[in-house]
Symmetry: C4
Subunit: 249 residues, 4 copies
């Protein structure tokens, strides 16, 4: 097992694809959004990425084990082709983030990816009604190009962007690969399908695909039920505790 190992599982010929990344993070916004694409479109698993920088762990479903790692799916839509990166884990250390992001970009380049979109959430600290989407991009041209579709704010996100999403911007720029990060506002307390939808609505406009949101809406309604129950239980006096949220997620 190398430090990072990409196992190719299928050969596909995508036409001018974009890379869409959605890994775990604030409100699981990016992960929900990317997984929604895989549910709504026909998707082919093209590669898995393993690394010694992931937890030493397998998941188990119905008795079958699977080594933790990232997955690349190829998605062809009428509007655009996409390589979608999903997974349940981020690297466990700094170097791992760099090495894994470099390996992701290597595979993206092998597939002729010319644009990368990292999806994520930005925490607001309070429950919200209007789901704004803010953005960051790795070069000025891309900022200009995306400005009609998404908001760029002077000082946000305040702490910068960390993890694979952040490094796709940072290492993407160094490779001359235009990269943007789309971040849905989210309380930060809850897994947030509504924020994921807001991000996808921006993304579909930019990339040019067409997708429905019924299943995300259903998940959002389930979440709202749970939030309502917690608010009743607690007399709406305090934000849900971590314990509650772990249950909710």
């Amino acid at each position: 097992m190398d430090e990072v190992h990409t196992e190719v599982l299928a050969e596909v010929a995508l036409s001018d694809p974009v890379l869409i990344e959605g890994l775990p993070g604030v409100g699981h916004v990016g992960k929900l959004a990317a997984e929604h694409l895989l549910e709504e479109f026909d998707a082919t698993l093209v590669a898995r990425l393993y690394s010694r920088h992931f937890p030493p762990q397998v998941t188990v479903e119905n008795g079958r084990s699977k080594l933790v790692g990232l997955e690349f799916h190829a998605v062809e839509t009428e509007g655009a082709d996409m390589l979608v990166l999903t997974g349940d884990h981020q690297a466990q250390d700094n170097e791992g983030h760099y090495l894994i992001t470099d390996a992701v970009l290597d595979l993206a380049e092998e597939h002729g990816v010319s644009r990368v979109y990292a999806l994520g959430g930005v925490p607001t600290g309070e429950l919200i009604d209007e789901y704004g989407v803010i953005a960051a991009a790795s070069d000025d041209l891309l900022v200009e190009e995306l400005e009609p579709h998404v908001e760029f704010r002077e000082d946000e996100p305040a702490g910068g962007i960390v993890g694979v999403s952040g490094l796709l911007l940072g290492l993407g720029e160094r490779r001359g690969l235009p990269t943007a990060c789309l971040m849905g506002e989210t309380s930060g307390y809850l897994v947030d399908p509504k924020s994921a939808r807001a991000v996808l609505e921006v993304l579909q406009e930019i990339v040019g695909f067409d997708v429905g949101y019924d299943s995300l809406e259903e998940r959002a309604e389930e979440m709202e039920e749970v939030v309502k129950k917690i608010q009743e239980m607690e007399g709406a006096q305090q934000p849900p505790s971590d314990e509650d949220l772990r249950y909710i997620g």
Copy 2:
């Protein structure tokens, strides 16, 4: 000292052996089970595995020091030959788990191992009477083959399997080496010889050896004495504290 170093101590010719792994973990179930095999059968120490990813430590017995590491013993029984992996430590970091598991599988392959059984415990959070054993396997054929002997549950173990046991499944699959993990239910509060026996009873049926359990029973009785004392002391009002358990273990 390489990152991982396997020192061969004896040449043995095992006939179609299976690898049995029992390292420290929940309830020390795997470790107790594997060590029981070494007590009950004639066992030859065939190799030791050292690594910079283990603690920088020696154990001392009667004044003689021994560098911490893993040990492989060869065990020949009427029913089947086994390579038994035991030790007092897991790796101290993520990369170490991967590197050490790869080295374990290398040695297993050199001995012609065609099947791996990782032994461990799965915590239930409460003291139990009926010791169920659940399993996970690295390929569908093996799941099917083991189903008459052991339970595969839809969502268990919930958090997946971590450490060397988990990676034997994950890296075993990647080498095409069928690997199963047998996990005895255990409270998670106590070193649990009864759970170890439950695991071994499943294992002996699958692998085809015959072993007695007197010494495990004795240890189980000792544990029960201690638990009883604690329950008396505490009026059975609360689970034993960590302090108690450290003493018990």
Copy 3:
């Protein structure tokens, strides 16, 4: 991305330059001092240094992302030429500190640097009026040479000097590159522009440049306002809390 990568952005021919380092640390004294030089003089960005030992992070300003790293600026003044090292982060682990400092010294040597000055703060634990500056140097000749300008104390700083500033001394000595660290006294509770000015006043005498302090004074006055407010709020009974200070910084 290598472990450490230096990207050269401009070729400049400096005349017998000194290296000035000012990275985050106690009271942000070094960082404030080095950044003040970049504000007051014409400065050319000559190189950036990236590393897997930095956080996996980009900063974002007006929508444009920038991978975290260190920056080298060339500054030519009438009195002396300087290579000024600034940045928002230190390495995240021990090895990173060593590797990054070695890469900094490599670049310094390529520019013909013959003297290194690391700038920082030394915590006193109480608010102070008189900003003393103490020093440490990597060889006896340099101690002697600097003695007219700065104080060398028998047992200070008590805990030695850590991070890049410390290693510039340690690794600088091993390369035969005379290196000094100038440390401004500071409470340790506040970002401290006055301490930065004290350090710069010593530095300008030693290196031989001439700089104004209006902007640092303004920042110092702003800080004083904030401290006054906190003291009023708390009846001057206790030092400002971490929470306050994070706000202040």
Copy 4:
């Protein structure tokens, strides 16, 4: 700067020397003992060992910085020649302990060292009057040879031996270099010159040198004064707090 780098500072020709190691640890027993040898005998600094696995730090004395690392001194006595290893730090991570110990043994072998003595303390948890010294050795012959001089106990030290002392035993054995660890009993609460003397008295008998203990006695008396004061202050009702001890040390 390599991961570990040994800088040779003087060529000496020692006659059949032993290596004596005394690094920081329980009660600073080993460190006090080794430093006492350097004070009492003429000692030549023969090498320094630097590593990226040490803290990124310099110490400062009278303004002169010194990169943290280990030091080897050559000591020639009438009875025996010694290579004495001292320093203020242990490695900061597991791998560092292994790499540094290997480098120590490399240098020892270059000097023809045929026997290694690691010095340290073993905590008893209470203030003690009789300073026992227990031992561990890397091979049975050495256990036998040392038995007239020092105590080998069945189950002590219970947790094994960690750090460089532990690995000198573990890696020394693997090189076939007979290694012993001598551990003085000590409360574990205090820097303990009396325990260091007890260890040295055993060592001098084994190795065959002759040393006085006046300066260690003085230090022990100072410590006793401090302990007495603390006991008065606290009415001898509780063991000295960590805060006190840091002051004492």
